[in-house]
């Protein structure tokens, strides 16, 4: 008889412990309390009632066991109630993984372009835009590249079908021609934009790429002003520890012309096996020069009164150097695995 009761009580205790372990809220705690200790029909209350039916012989022992259960359960309730009220159950696990909300990235060419533009804006340059489809006159002739000039070879040009003398601009210089035709000096502009050359895509060529060109025309502008301007740009963009080197170069629209090298951004000329500068310590980055008097004349600016300088750079090349990007085609694949690397 007592053994049977003991078994029954043990089962209740086990069930209770299982159930109380799943209780996390006050509501569920109350439900469980009602189930076990409600005055009307709680499981433990039932046992108490049934105690009366037992013979005197068993009563004290059974009473003791049931009381023990009751105490146990009540203590457990108190304990759980306390812990529910405490912060333990309100605690969040901050280490759970975040939801995968989508994140967008601006294209690195936009970022670099904006960065370059902002530096020149701060130097007081206006941003001028033009057309991607241009006339041969604005793209070549006005820039002192006559029809049979050998320099046209270096600009492998796309021609537009059914339109005479119409091409995709090979540089953003036509913007300068348009601006000079419409404005009187002082002129101080940069012209960013896409340019087009008939190159098969490979690791260093794409038929479309981006340029930023600059132009300043005013009285008494000299070659040293060009150097100072480019130096402040380069140091602002790449950092003050970068050196600049001017080399004689040739562009039909500038005279004198200068190629501009910067010290290697990776090895600073210290690594003879450097992948970027190939041990030379220098990277070619810009073309520049004093605006050719013929170009000024073509835009009705008197070269005896005014002089100016111009410069141009490839945005992709600068981005490749700054971020160590190995292949120019990556800019145009638009692979999110690439785009998302540059916040």
């Amino acid at each position: 008889m007592i053994d049977e009761l003991k078994k029954e009580i043990e089962k209740v205790r086990k069930d209770f412990l299982k159930e109380i372990d799943q209780v996390l809220s006050k509501e569920n705690l109350k439900k469980l309390r009602d189930k076990y200790t409600s005055r009307k029909n709680g499981i433990v209350t039932e046992f108490m009632h049934n105690l009366k039916k037992l013979s005197k012989e068993y009563k004290p022992i059974a009473g003791k066991i049931i009381n023990e259960l009751k105490l146990n359960i009540e203590n457990k309730f108190k304990e759980v109630e306390k812990s529910i009220n405490s912060k333990v159950y309100k605690k969040v696990d901050y280490s759970l993984p975040d939801f995968d909300f989508s994140v967008g990235f601006s294209h690195i060419l936009s970022d670099i372009g904006t960065e370059i533009e902002d530096i020149f804006l701060n130097l007081g340059y206006e941003i001028a835009y033009g057309f991607e489809v241009e006339s041969e006159y604005n793209n070549f002739t006005a820039l002192n590249i006559a029809e049979h000039h050998p320099a046209r070879d270096e600009h492998d040009t796309f021609f537009i079908k059914d339109f005479e003398n119409t091409i995709l601009r090979t540089h953003t210089s036509p913007v300068q021609i348009r601006y000079m035709n419409e404005h009187k000096p002082p002129i101080k502009i940069i012209s960013p934009g896409k340019v087009f050359r008939k190159d098969e895509p490979d690791a260093t060529h794409t038929p479309v790429f981006n340029q930023v060109e600059g132009l300043l025309v005013d009285k008494n502008i000299n070659f040293s002003h060009l150097k100072g301007t480019l130096e402040s740009f380069i140091k602002s963009f790449f950092g003050g520890n970068i050196d600049l080197r001017f080399r004689p170069g040739y562009f039909p629209f500038t005279e004198p012309s200068a190629e501009v090298d910067i010290s290697c951004v990776l090895c600073f000329g210290k690594d003879p096996d450097c992948k970027i500068c190939k041990g030379t310590g220098w990277l070619e980055i810009l073309g520049s020069g004093m605006v050719h008097p013929k170009v000024l004349l073509n835009c009705n600016i008197n070269p005896e009164e005014y002089s100016g300088f111009a410069f141009g750079m490839g945005v992709e090349r600068i981005a490749m150097l700054k971020y160590g990007i190995p292949d120019i085609r990556m800019f145009y694949d638009n692979d999110i695995r690439f785009l998302s690397q540059f916040g």
Binding site: F99, D100, F101, S102, V103, G104, F105, S106, H107, T114, G124, Y125, E126, I127, Y129, E132, V133, H148, E154, F158, I160, K161, F163, T166, L168, H183, P186, I187, K188, D199, P201, T206, P207, V208, L216, D218, F223, S224, H225, K227, G228, T229, F246, R247, P248, Y250, P252, E255, P256, S257, M290, P293, S307, Y332, D333, N334, D335, I336, R337, L339
Partner: protein, 679 residues
């Protein structure tokens, strides 16, 4: 061009250390692209800019190096010029047009032996990147590489008649060139002819028949000056680039032809072990050479470079480069040597001075120049804002080529008003885009292939089309979304694909940002699915289109999920952006009243909205739709909507009764107007 450093030492006593040499050449403007080792000798492959044909020879390069390092020994090129006006035989040189050929020096040498060149000469030829042919041809190449004058030598016995004619070819004539290419000629080509036929394309390549071989006994040596444009035209037409044409196109030295012939004769003599039998020599110089004179004020080099350059330095540099200076107190009259065809004005002279003086001596100064015309570019500001907006809501910016295939362009234009490229790099790149969407689709396909499941992209760029015979460029913004919008997560346990409503809502946030009201209007576009194809409008202006691309198009790009796109004209948006001035917000509290009703399902929400706007009481500030239901328990012809209306006054807190009164009256009118059933 290949520069043999040891051969340079023939003219100049220069340190032949590779690195020093490379830096030296770089510093005067000759870019060294590669170092090649040939038979243990250092050879540089250098890039010669098109303005400097005088650098296409070792002597020319040595001259510039000397001016840079004027303290070093320099051996001017000395050849005893054959000033013979020898006409022992009946022969004539006739120039049809002196504009095509200003000078032609010709010489006949008889009774010579043609052999293989010595090993030494062969190595020299190889070091120039050329192929040894025979002792005579090799000599012409050495002359070319030494002083930059192209020489052509004919086998005299293969020329018919005793005459050389320099004339335009006649249509119908043809010639087999030395490289065995047969070409048909016409009036565009300048040719060197014997009595009957063309024997060479002037300045480009000789004919095979009259070439010098080991059997040749008698030769005719040609050293001429041809018009650069004439040569360039024919070379381009032929698609041939030779060492000779390269120089003539850029401008040879008209005064060097005689000297070159003398140089050839001197070298032939060395190979023959006997006196040369020169039977004819004639120098036809049809056009008098007029040197260029430039007036250069002495203070100009300093003014134009921004640094102090002493007169003596300018003078020395120009003299070393071969210029003649006539001193006129405050200026020089500078005579330009015949080989410097690139120098025409005082700026050119300044470049020469600063190039040799050293670009490293330039100062770094900032100009005090102020752009009075400065205007802020509004479209740039707009693009910046829009870019930042869309990346912040999860779109990735892309940049694509502007080239599409013909088929791709046709998806977006039923009229064939798009532009084609005459010389595209391939079929897939033969037209200029009239929509940015094909680019976005290519990018979408690529990213799906890389197992990226959510692809939301946008691009700014131009589209091109023809309108009334004129080419138009338009700045466009295009967006696309495809794949998963909300990814599965551990809490919500579901994922959600993009649909039209999500896409439209994401896109419209840009209008919220700019406080612009826009509208869609049903319009069938050929590129959209019939049931999801809309015009985007601001006021009554059409600014673009939005919809779900039709299957045929997404199949073309091998995409198997719906792709939602929108494309709008930026200039039209920017017109609607107003500068708002500050307005104080309403500080009184809102009161909300809900209203659920059944409405005819054919009535568009836009229509309901317009009636609400018309009937709305003054105190109603806004409204929103918070539930939409169709299906069981309501009539099939109806849908059930639940809306919330918000009331408040700008002046005071409204009482409950006031609001109830207003709301009930409003609802009554609304019910009446649209035949609504209150639920």
């Amino acid at each position: 061009m290949r520069v043999n450093i040891e051969y340079l030492k023939k003219f100049i006593d220069v340190d032949t250390d590779k690195l020093k040499m490379k830096n030296l050449l770089n510093s005067i403007g000759i870019e060294v692209s590669e170092l090649i080792c040939c038979d243990g000798k250092d050879i540089f492959d250098v890039e010669i800019t098109p303005n400097r044909p005088d650098w296409l020879s070792h002597y020319g390069i040595a001259r510039d190096i000397h001016s840079k390092l004027s303290e070093i020994r320099f051996s001017p090129f000395k050849i005893a010029e054959v000033h013979l006006d020898k006409k022992n035989e009946d022969f004539s040189i006739n120039i049809e047009d002196k504009n095509d050929c200003a000078r032609y020096t010709g010489c006949i040498v008889r009774d010579i032996n043609v052999n293989e060149s010595s090993k030494e000469v062969k190595n020299l030829i190889k070091s120039f990147g050329l192929r040894p042919i025979n002792s005579i041809v090799d000599i012409s190449n050495i002359v070319l590489m030494t002083i930059g004058q192209p020489i052509h030598i004919f086998d005299l016995d293969k020329l018919s008649g005793n005459e050389i004619n320099i004339r335009r070819a006649i249509k119908g004539e043809s010639l087999e060139l030395l490289d065995e290419q047969k070409i048909s000629l016409n009036n565009e080509f300048l040719v060197i002819c014997d009595k009957k036929n063309p024997a060479a394309i002037a300045g480009i390549m000789g004919g095979k028949a009259s070439g010098v071989t080991f059997e040749t006994k008698n030769i005719f040596i040609e050293s001429a000056y041809f018009n650069p444009i004439t040569i360039r035209r024919s070379a381009r037409k032929l698609g041939i680039k030779t060492d000779a044409s390269y120089i003539f196109e850029r401008g040879a030295d008209v005064l060097v032809t005689q000297k070159a012939v003398s140089f050839v004769l001197e070298m032939i003599k060395k190979t023959q072990k006997q006196e040369l039998n020169i039977t004819y020599y004639n120098d036809v110089f049809e056009k008098e050479f007029k040197p260029v004179f430039i007036e250069l004020y002495k203070d100009y080099p300093s003014a134009y470079t921004g640094i102090e350059i002493k007169n003596s330095i300018s003078e020395q540099i120009l003299k070393d480069l071969g210029f003649k200076l006539n001193d006129k107190v405050d200026k020089w009259i500078v005579e330009v040597p015949s080989y410097r065809v690139d120098i025409v004005n005082k700026q050119d002279l300044v470049e020469e001075i600063i190039r040799i003086y050293g670009y490293d001596k330039l100062d770094s100064k900032l100009p005090y120049s102020f752009n009075e015309n400065f205007i802020t570019n509004n479209e740039r500001q707009l693009i910046k804002k829009i870019r930042n907006h869309f990346i912040s809501i999860g779109f990735n910016e892309v940049v694509n080529y502007i080239f599409h295939s013909y088929e791709e362009n046709k998806f977006f234009s039923d009229r064939e008003n798009f532009l084609e490229i005459r010389n595209p790099i391939g079929r897939d790149f033969s037209t200029l885009r009239n929509s940015l969407i094909p680019g976005l689709l290519k990018n979408t396909a690529l990213n799906f292939n890389n197992s990226i499941k959510r692809v939301s992209l946008f691009e700014f760029g131009k589209r091109f089309y023809v309108e009334n015979g004129k080419i138009k460029e338009e700045n466009i913004l295009s967006l696309s979304s495809s794949g998963i919008y909300l990814a599965l997560n551990w809490k919500d346990k579901f994922e959600k694909d993009f649909d039209f409503y999500i896409f439209k809502s994401l896109f419209s946030t840009i209008f919220k940002k700019f406080h612009i009201e826009f509208k869609l209007e049903k319009r069938d576009f050929p590129h959209f699915k019939g049931e999801c194809s809309y015009l985007v409008k601001i006021d009554e202006h059409e600014i673009g289109y939005i919809g779900s691309l039709k299957k045929e198009i997404i199949d073309f790009y091998k995409i198997d999920k719906p792709v939602f796109v929108v494309e709008v004209q930026l200039s039209k948006i920017s017109k609607y952006i107003k500068k708002n001035s500050f307005k104080m917000w309403n500080k009184f509290p809102f009161s909300k009243r809900d209203f659920s009703f059944l409405i005819d399902k054919n009535i568009e929400y836009y229509e309901l909205e317009s009636v609400i706007k018309e009937l709305k009481p003054e105190t109603m500030e806004k409204y929103e739709l918070f539930d939409l239901y169709k299906g069981d328990n309501i009539p099939g012809s109806k849908i059930s909507l639940s809306m919330a209306f918000y009331y408040r006054s700008k002046k005071r807190t409204l009482t409950n009764d006031e609001i109830n009164d207003t709301h009930v009256k409003f609802i009554e009118k609304l019910i009446e107007r649209l035949d609504l059933i209150q639920r």
